[in-house]
Amino acid sequence: MKETQAYIERIKRVNRGYQRLELAVDRSLTAMRAGQALLVRRIDKDYDIENWDPYLRELWFPVAIQAGNIVAVERPARAHFVPGQLLSVLGPVGRAYRFRHKLRNVLLIAYEAMPAALLLMIPSLLAKQVGITLVLMGSARQYETNHLPEEVEVIQAEDNLTWSDMVMTLGWADQVFALVGQGDSLRFFGEILAIMRERHYDIPANYLFGVIQRDLPCGVGACHACALSLRGEHKLQCIDGPAFDLTELRLN
C-alpha cells in the first residue's frame, strides 16, 4: 500500500456504456493481481487548488496490466476524463483472489455490477486452459461483452437469476466468484446464495466466493466502515476482501 501518482495515457471506448482508461502508474502497481484494486482521486496540477467534491476516492479494479507500467481500467462512459489527467492513487487495496489448486472451470457472476473486478483474471486463466463462464444478472446484463476474449462463455441470466443449464454450469464449475453491486450488496449475496442452495444442496467451503465492491473511505483498515461479520469475527473488505466465502458471511 502506497500513495503514488498516475496519469491517464489513453482513453478508448469499449462498448456503449464503458470506456477503458490506460493509466501510467508507479512501477510497484504493475505487480497487482486479480482481486486487488486502486483507490483513485483526480488531482489538480497545482495541489493548492483542491476540490472536495467528489470527496471519497473511487475504487478502480484493473482489467489489464500492460507493458510500460500501464494499468487499464473500465469506467462508465458518461464520466469525463482527459488524457494527461493526473490521479492520486492508493494501492494496491485488498487481497488477490485465491484459486483452487487444480482449477479447471471457473464460474464468474456479475449481479447488479459491471464485471470489471472479474476481468483481470481472464487472460492468465485462459493461458492455463481454465474454462471461463461469465453470467450477467440484473442490470449487469446491459454490459456488452464483445471486447472480451471469445473463449469466455457469456450467459445472460433470466429475471429470476437463473439460466438454462444452470445445474450443469454449477456442477461443472470448480469455483464461483459472484460479484455484486453497491448498496444492497449483502442482499444480493443472499439471493445468489439462496438460488445456489436450491440447485446445489451442499455448498462446500472455498467454492462460492462473494466479491464485494462498496465504497472504501480509507482503504487501509483504519475506519472500519467496510467491516463485515464472518463466523463471529469482523473482517474488513479493504484488507481481507474483496472476496469472502459466502457460506461464512453474515448476511443481515
Binding site: Q5, D53, Y55
Partner: protein
C-alpha cells in the same frame, strides 16, 4: 515545541505538535504507517473502543455527499481487553503518545475500563466520548467516574449539547475538552433508495464548529485546554481553530481522502514548515507533493513515480 494539551498537574499530557487524528479515522494501531509519518503527529487517538465487543452495523454505511460523506459504522471493535492485547506492542513502538477513545459507557463500564487502562503503560491518556443527546447528570456521573483515573482524561462533547455540557463536564474533572463530535445526519443511499443515518463529515462542518469553539473558549475556565476538530481540511483550517482558542486540533476524514494532509497539517502547525508562499514550487517539506508532481511542473508528460515518503 512542548504543548500541554491537558490541565497542568499530575495528569498533564504534553505533545510536541498540536495535531492528532480524530477518533475513528486512523484505526486502533498503525494502519497508516505506509502513508504518513507518525513522528510528525502530536499524538494518536484510537478508534472508539467499548468495554464489550461491538459488531459492525449491517447494510449501507457510507453515503457520498456533495463535498462530504455520511458514515455509520456501529463502532465495531473486539472490546477493550482485546484491543489492548492486540495493539499494545504497536502502541509501545509509536513515536508519539497514544490516547484511547472510549465510547458510550455506563459508570460501571467506566470503572471496569479504568481498571484495565490504568495498568497499561502504553496508553498515555483516555478520551471519553459522550453520546449524542446525553443529559447533563449522566454526563457528570460518567466524567466524575472517569476522572478517578491516574491518566489524563479528555472528554469529547457531542455536537448539539456541547454548549450545555462544557462547564458541568469541566467541573466534573475533565482535563481537556474535545470539541466536537461531528453532527448526525440522514442521507439517501442512491443504490437502495433508502435513508441512512450516520455522522456527517466534510469541509462545511468547519465554519459551524469553529463558531462553537470560539464561543466556548470564552466561557470555560482558561486553564482547561480545548482540543478542537470538525471539518479540518487544510493547515489554515487548523490554524483557525488555534486562533479561536484551541491548544490542539483533531483532523478527521480529510485523512481518508488525502492521507498526507494530516502530516502536512502537523508539519505546518508543528513549526516544521514555513507557511508556504502562494505559487512556490513544491519542496521536501510538503509531503503530499510527490516527485511526480514536482517534475510535472517542468516537463510533460510526467513519469509517474512513487511518493518518496
Amino acid at each position: 515545541m512542548a504543548i500541554e494539551i491537558t490541565k497542568p498537574g499530575k495528569h498533564s499530557l504534553i505533545v510536541s505538535t498540536p495535531v492528532m487524528p480524530a477518533a475513528g479515522t486512523l484505526g486502533f494501531g498503525d494502519r497508516y504507517k505506509a502513508l504518513l509519518n507518525y513522528d510528525m503527529l502530536g499524538a494518536v487517538v484510537t478508534n472508539p473502543v467499548t468495554l464489550e465487543p461491538w459488531k459492525p452495523a449491517a447494510g449501507t454505511r457510507i453515503i457520498s455527499l456533495d463535498a462530504g460523506v455520511l458514515v455509520h459504522t456501529g463502532l465495531p471493535n473486539p472490546g477493550l481487553a482485546k484491543v489492548i492485547s492486540q495493539n499494545r506492542r504497536v502502541w509501545a513502538s509509536m513515536p508519539v503518545p497514544v490516547i484511547v477513545h472510549l465510547a458510550s459507557a455506563s459508570t460501571s463500564q467506566i470503572k471496569r475500563a479504568l481498571d484495565l487502562i490504568d495498568t497499561v503503560d502504553e496508553i498515555a491518556g483516555l478520551e471519553l466520548g459522550l453520546r449524542d443527546g446525553i443529559i447533563r447528570n449522566e454526563a457528570i456521573d460518567l466524567v466524575s467516574e472517569a476522572a478517578k483515573m491516574e491518566k489524563p482524561l479528555l472528554v469529547r462533547l457531542p455536537f448539539y449539547e456541547c454548549g450545555q455540557l462544557a462547564l458541568p463536564v469541566a467541573d466534573a474533572g475533565a482535563d481537556a475538552l474535545v470539541l466536537t463530535a461531528p453532527p448526525r445526519g440522514t442521507a439517501r443511499d442512491e443504490h437502495t433508495g433508502r435513508l441512512v443515518s450516520g455522522r456527517v463529515y466534510g469541509p462545511l462542518i468547519k465554519p459551524i464548529v469553529l463558531r462553537l469553539v470560539g464561543r466556548l473558549a470564552r466561557e470555560i475556565p482558561t486553564d482547561l485546554p480545548i482540543i478542537a476538530g470538525g471539518g479540518i481540511h487544510s493547515p489554515q483550517d487548523a490554524r483557525d481553530y488555534i486562533e479561536a482558542g484551541a491548544v490542539a486540533v483533531q483532523v478527521d476524514t480529510a485523512t481518508w481522502a488525502r492521507p498526507k494532509m494530516l502530516e502536512r497539517i502537523a508539519r505546518d502547525l508543528g513549526g516544521w514548515i514555513a507557511t508556504r508562499q502562494k505559487d512556490a514550487l513544491p519542496d521536501e517539506w510538503n509531503p503530499d507533493m510527490s516527485h511526480t508532481e514536482a517534475m510535472e511542473r517542468r516537463t510533460a508528460p510526467p513519469t509517474p513515480r512513487s511518493d518518496p515518503s
